[in-house]
Symmetry: D2
Subunit: 397 residues, 4 copies
């Protein structure tokens, strides 16, 4: 009998999560083709992956709202598709997100959120998450479970010493240290519950030394950071092109406008900083020099809704010091681009995990803006890495 | 003593040729950095290549005009640089282009060209070119000589039987067959003179079966077709990105505007057809499907001068059939982008030739819009091929 | 009791016509706001215009297809709106388009069109159209009727002598002259039936001398040519801006891609020529000089559907001969932009007609790419003309 | 004999000032055409304006640097033009800018500026400026003198009571109130010296009630605020186009990148705020509604130099609530666009002044982003106002 794997999502009522779940359901019912999913193409032919129909969805969110209501609110899927899906409804296991007081700043942004104010200590939050994972696995008789972080970007604090070792981190958990972020709690609990963890956001989770060490110690596979969905995706193909023609980059100005909740959170300078840091390292790493001006702007622009528009102007110098430029205007849909990546990464990460991989799975670098412990941001090299990885998976079916 | 290699250019007074030659001279005199030249970067470190200062330039053109006058007319280099170069002038060996009657249609486009009307049979043209090559080698005591075709795009005729074998082709040469194009004559003569030949244009030369066979028989290295300088360059990086995300291409509309002589020649529908054919195959080959609408337009637009501007709109479909798009505006300088490629290819092709390579050198595929006998247009794969090639060159110094 | 006016549309099953009719019905039922209609804003406050609910729709087409089927086929309205409209259906009077053999070239483009091949002489076609108009007026007890030409662009023949006078034209009608186009037949019949005529296309109709004379003689108001919906609209605001800053235009390259039936017809070089001629005069007229390069390209690009995308690059020179440029990317919906204009022009033309205007109503110049007998294409001057016109209408209620 | 008029520039060594002066000198010597100058076209034919050759230049700056050195540093003019101008040098009267301590924040931005630290009271600064103006007039026997503010944007403080009346303002001058900005000092002194004043910046000068009253009392003509050179210029033509088609604006996102000193100053959030406020009011005023999202971003981007690039995405709604958009990419040269405006405004303002105009000359609204006491930002209406103004000037020669 085919294995069944759970996917537990932090932020299960958000735009990406609900779009991913509804999409998989639509594909299962032949209401849509699996466009956007690499794991449904010939590229992975021969790899034994969990079947789309054997993925069981669940997750946490700070506010409970029925899935179909979320889909309508986010306004990403066409109403006619939602209507068709509603005819044959499906269950998503919802767990109330444990509150430790640390996510307050996020909650305040939406006055429509009504949250009871009971806060609990960090170690209780950890215990609750582990229980949720185990309960979910038992309830559906799952072979295993992957946890993915799709919640809003959190601010990063610098120089926190307790992030450096497992011992210091666990001590901080026990002492309810207020610098432990929500993302760290989920990552820690997932590793302890032996659920592979994906950090699809730029927040601090499995990239901190303590949790990388823990993932190795507990032999759990993890991956991150920050799903590469748009502007950074094409940056990682254009920059190598410049490099291999010895065209000298002078400057790259990138602006992003988006009108979804992600955009609203990123209006907050602290959150934006975490995001922009995750986006700017990529060019230096590919080009091998940094004497150019790289600027990334993100602006909240409500008329755009979930459609994330980007504009770039790329200034470079060629033969005899001649200046030239390239401008790109990207009109993408953020959640539409992100949703299939969540499914692709989940399937590939599980496949690696069940074949014995643990710690950071660097072979998934291509899926991330800021891949953990990977200095090579060149798309083509990352794809090569992924191709070899797929070969290895195939050979170890 | 270091080897000296000649570079004989068909169209030596044109924009690309004069920009390439002046650029190399500027680098030699420390008036410019070698930006744009891959063969001056670490990527080729350790490969024994002909030194920039040991390349001797010469070539043919249908009209004779002093080099510095050409530079001023083309308006690509800054006047101040031309002035500096003129202070310490350099020689370029000029050969009058043999006329067989076939290039008439090109000549007519510029009323300022005054050409004596003496036409000669094809076989005499071949003999003259071979003599020019040998004379050039002897005069400067060159180790060898590479010929590159930078002349205007010629119309291609379909279904010419004499192109299929060496015997039929040589018979056509002897019988002065009017379907033998100017490009074929230069390619044929170069191979016979054992000068490696580069076809930087989309015209028919070393891609015809007869001349590929001849290159193998005579053990001469050749490369082509059509230098990849702008729009096709970024097509070969964007298309693989779509492929590896399983984003379905629906349509790609490409328009080009250019105001140089190349643009004027391409106004002629027959010439344009050769060019556009060379540009359109690339997407199907990368994506592995062709049910999308691909349209390439080229328009003569004098205000742009040599600056070739392109605009693309790329329509693709993602998760749940959602349509998205990407638009690119490329503001490049045609000759500035092409000039260093000519030097890069020449150095690499010679290096391969002197190490024993002959026939079509497919490893140089990355440099061409329509690489001969190469189905893989993916930039990253082509770069990988080039990297391996460079390794082999290094190992065989 | 309020007056009722008929609007008879040549091409009533086309995209613009069906979108205009469905839109008016949607506004009447409060399913949509009258966005896009100037005649529903304060700008026309106080002018006695025919009410939206008192416009009765009908028209001709070469193929009969139910209105709601047309709406679905064109794919412009959202399905949910069509569904709502269908619940309370409305009638559109359909007349079979008389065939004289001249529209053959258009018909051939769509193999799904099944047309009986009975062709009739021009004078019979004229008689049929007049009868249709009168029948329509009587059936609904209309005060009057406006005819608007929304059919596909027809090729224009140069130097047809019979277009110069009423007598020669009527003689040609009687002799079944094959150079009489379909558009001319409708325009002639409308004027004879005293129905004001709007030429929303670039085809030859009321701009030919014979029909202008006839409109004056018969005291019928007419307007045209070629509804100004997108690229030409912004050209007529950008060009005056350049003029009033004494910024010298060097070149304006305009490309259009569209995937609807209009785009398909314009692939035919003869049709395209008529369209492009209508689009190119505008800049010279505004700027007062013509020593710049103006190029307009129109390309059929199916992925775009009815969404007509345009890209322009505008090159100009400023202080000290410095070159600068402006690039515009317009992502409009052709029929969505055109539909309200049809209603606006119809209401304003009828208002003028019932107040005694006849011949070409130049005050409506703003609505046309190539306004008949109007040399001033400056948008601001045209708007001023329109404002004064609205004042006069108001004073003559 | 023809009148001679002085133009005294606050910021005479800046990019706009030196480009304007050098440009006029180039035109006088037939080294350039007066492209960009409306006052050299037929539009002003028949108006008695000061001749270009009769404008005498001078001004103040916080650092003294020879004019030709400034030209080279700014890098706007071609070197070859500077060389030609230098052959026949011209004088510019330089006055040291009086320092009151208020401009400190600006000075700090450029470590290359070496400024002696002697600060003087505001009333002494006023006295010095008046003396400079009179000295300049006497030295060259000028009929009069216009002062234009081209210095860097200053922060604006809200709710300063002393700005409301002449009395309070003069009292503040005498008491050396630290909230008196540098711009106010120049404006005040100019009016007292009966020199018409142009505020080409968004800083607070002649728009404050006290100085408007003073201009009326002293019968001096003044004009401002903030020269309209690029993005706002096309906003004032695109917005009326939307209005007259009843296309509902949903959002307008504008980003600007510039690499000159102006850009560096605008990196400071306080300075940027003054600038952005001056840019955002314009759309509401034209459209007559404000329920859309308007966002203007300005970013310092060194690779661009003086070339100010802008990108806009304009989202609007048409018939049946259909969303459409327009994107504009403006590649202008800031100083090249501004320089001729300074000359145009100076000539027109003087012409008005000598014919008896005083107070704010609203007829020059078209030249400003935020015209003082003018609610109508529609370019076409502003041009109409200007046309009428020119007619009046002509009639009063």
């Amino acid at each position: 009998m085919d294995k069944k794997i759970g996917l537990l999502i932090v932020g299960v009522n958000g735009a990406i999560a609900s779009t991913a779940i509804a999409g998989v359901e639509a594909i299962k019912r032949n209401l849509a083709k699996p466009t956007g999913l690499l794991t449904e193409t010939e590229a992975v032919a021969g790899v034994d992956l969990v079947k789309l129909s054997n993925i069981k969805f669940g997750g946490w969110d700070i506010v409970q709202e029925p899935h179909f209501q979320c889909l309508k609110k986010h306004g990403i899927l066409e109403e006619s598709l939602i209507t068709k899906l509603e005819k044959e409804p499906y269950d998503i296991d919802f767990f109330s997100a444990p509150r430790t007081g640390i996510t307050n700043h996020i909650m305040n942004i939406d006055s429509t959120m009504h949250i009871d104010d009971i806060m609990i200590p960090v170690k209780d939050a950890v215990r609750q998450i582990i229980e949720n994972i185990n309960e979910f696995k038992n309830k559906y008789n799952l072979t295993g479970c992957v946890v993915v972080n799709l919640s809003s970007t959190e601010p990063r604090k610098e120089n926190l010493e307790f992030l450096n070792t497992i011992e210091l981190f666990e001590d901080a958990v026990n002492k309810n240290n207020p610098d432990i972020s929500s993302g760290m709690i989920y990552a820690y609990a997932s590793i302890k519950a032996h659920a592979p963890f994906i950090n699809f956001t730029p927040s601090a989770t499995v990239d901190i030394p303590a949790l990388k060490q823990l993932a190795e110690k507990e032999r759990v596979a993890v991956a991150g950071n920050d799903g590469k969905t748009g502007q950074t995706l094409y940056k990682t193909v254009i920059a190598p092109m410049l490099k291999w023609r010895n065209l000298k980059l002078l400057g790259w100005y990138s602006t992003n406008i988006l009108g979804n909740n992600d955009g609203r959170v990123l209006e907050d300078p602290n959150h934006k900083k975490t995001k922009i840091m995750s986006k700017t390292k990529v060019l230096d790493n590919i080009l091998g020099y940094d004497d150019f001006y790289h600027r990334v702007e993100i602006n909240y622009y409500p008329p755009r809704g979930d459609a994330k528009e980007a504009w770039d102007t790329i200034d470079f110098q060629g033969w005899l010091g001649t200046n030239m430029s390239m401008k790109i205007n990207w009109i993408g849909e953020d959640s539409i681009l992100a949703a299939p990546l969540v499914i692709d990464i989940m399937r590939l990460l599980w496949a690696a995990y069940e074949r014995g991989a643990y710690g950071v799975v660097r072979e998934l670098a291509e899926y991330f803006k800021d891949p953990i412990d990977c200095k090579d941001h060149d798309f083509s090299n990352q794809i090569l890495l992924l191709q070899k990885f797929i070969e290895i998976l195939k050979d170890n079916n």
